[in-house]
Structures are given as C-alpha cells and as structure tokens.
Symmetry: C2
Subunit: 130 residues, 2 copies
Amino acid sequence: MTDLSTATTTPTTSGNPLIAGARVAGTDVYNTAGDHLGEIYDVMLDKQTGKVAYAIMSFGGFLGLGEKYHPIPWSVLDYDTNRGGYVVPLTKDKLEAAPMYDSEGEPDWDDRAYGKRVHDYYGTMPYWMM
Amino acid sequence: MTDLSTATTTPTTSGNPLIAGARVAGTDVYNTAGDHLGEIYDVMLDKQTGKVAYAIMSFGGFLGLGEKYHPIPWSVLDYDTNRGGYVVPLTKDKLEAAPMYDSEGEPDWDDRAYGKRVHDYYGTMPYWMM
C-alpha cells in the first residue's frame, strides 16, 4: 500500500466526503417516490472495525412517545444533496413490514440471527462479512 | 462470500459488538499509563463507505470555551471494558504535538493532504485506503 501512495498523485479533494456523526442524526429520510419516511435517530457502529452497521431510522410517534425504530443497513442509504436527506429505495409498505423495535424493546445487537434477518430483508451483505 | 456463510456455522454472538454513535460521544479517553486525556466529542464518518475515519477527542477548556479537538484514526483507539473508556498508546507530549483544531477553525475534512498528515502522525493507513 505504501507503493500505491507514492506511485499515485494524491488528489486534493476526496471523492468520499466526511460527515460528523452528530450531523447524521436528525437527517431526513425519503424514498425514491419523494415520501418522507422518517429521520435518522442514530448509527450503530462496529466497535472493532469502526464501520457503521446500521443507521437507525425513527418514525411516527410524538415527542418520543410511540416512536418506532428501523435498523437499516448503511449501504441502503443514498445521500441526496438536492433534498438534503437520505433516500432509500423502499415503499412505505416495504418499510412498515421491515424489522423494527420501539423504546421498550431494543434488539440484542450482538445476536447475529437478528442481524442476518435485517440484512436479508434489505438484500444486503451482513456488516460483519464486508 | 456466500460460500463462507454456508460453510461455517453462524455464531449466535458476534465478536464485534455494536455501539450506538450517541454512546461513543462522551466516552473517556486514557493512555496506557492511565492518564485521562479527554473524551470523545464525535466521530467523522466516510459517507460512501460508512466507515469511521476519525474519532474526535476533545480536551481542555471549560464549558466548551478554549476546548481543543484532536482527530484520531479509529484504529488507534482500543476500548477497555474495565476502565469503561478508550485507551490510546500516546504520551501526553505526543498528543499535545498532534494535529488539532479549536472551535474557531475546523479543518477541511475533504483535503487529503490534511488527512494524510493526521494518519502519518499516528502511523496508520489513511481511511480512504482501507
């Protein structure tokens, strides 16, 4: 890899801009049809690799009461600079049937059977295999 | 990768537990000598890959005034369950000479020359090459 860094010219600007975790939280989420689905509540990080396993999208509820949370694999989210939010290729129906939890029952994040169910639902590779 | 998933038994518990981004912020940071260096202020995520590029460690200051921020490559941080915080292999002197900024001058995160300087200082591979 050291060879690579000396052999190629280092571009001044990265193609992969960075974003602060605190700025991700609160960002709106839409689907491709333009429906507002919810907003990012938090991200779940893999401690070892430092990779985002899921974005947690919250929707419904009022002042935190009755709110539902969807863990969505990061690779499903696409940032749309025009909308200033994330876009996911999901209908409302597809989302409503997706794995979710509420404030009374957070899933066991370390349970891979649960993780596999989430990734299978969205058709993505589990974060621990990437 | 599909072969792997069918050939090996899926463990119930992951070796890489997940942590919520909001919980990372505020976590204490120590060095291996046990000195308290500061705390995690936020994480900087690579939008495209969803990988943590840096943990931002804050130290000094009072109620946000005069506070300094160090971007530290994620791979430098080790979570110590006994201490309930991250441990970095850095003396206070080494840390004080490390790239930092204050509330008046956030770096241009997309400038790879800056990123390279940070990673070189800690002797780690730049996040965009991992």
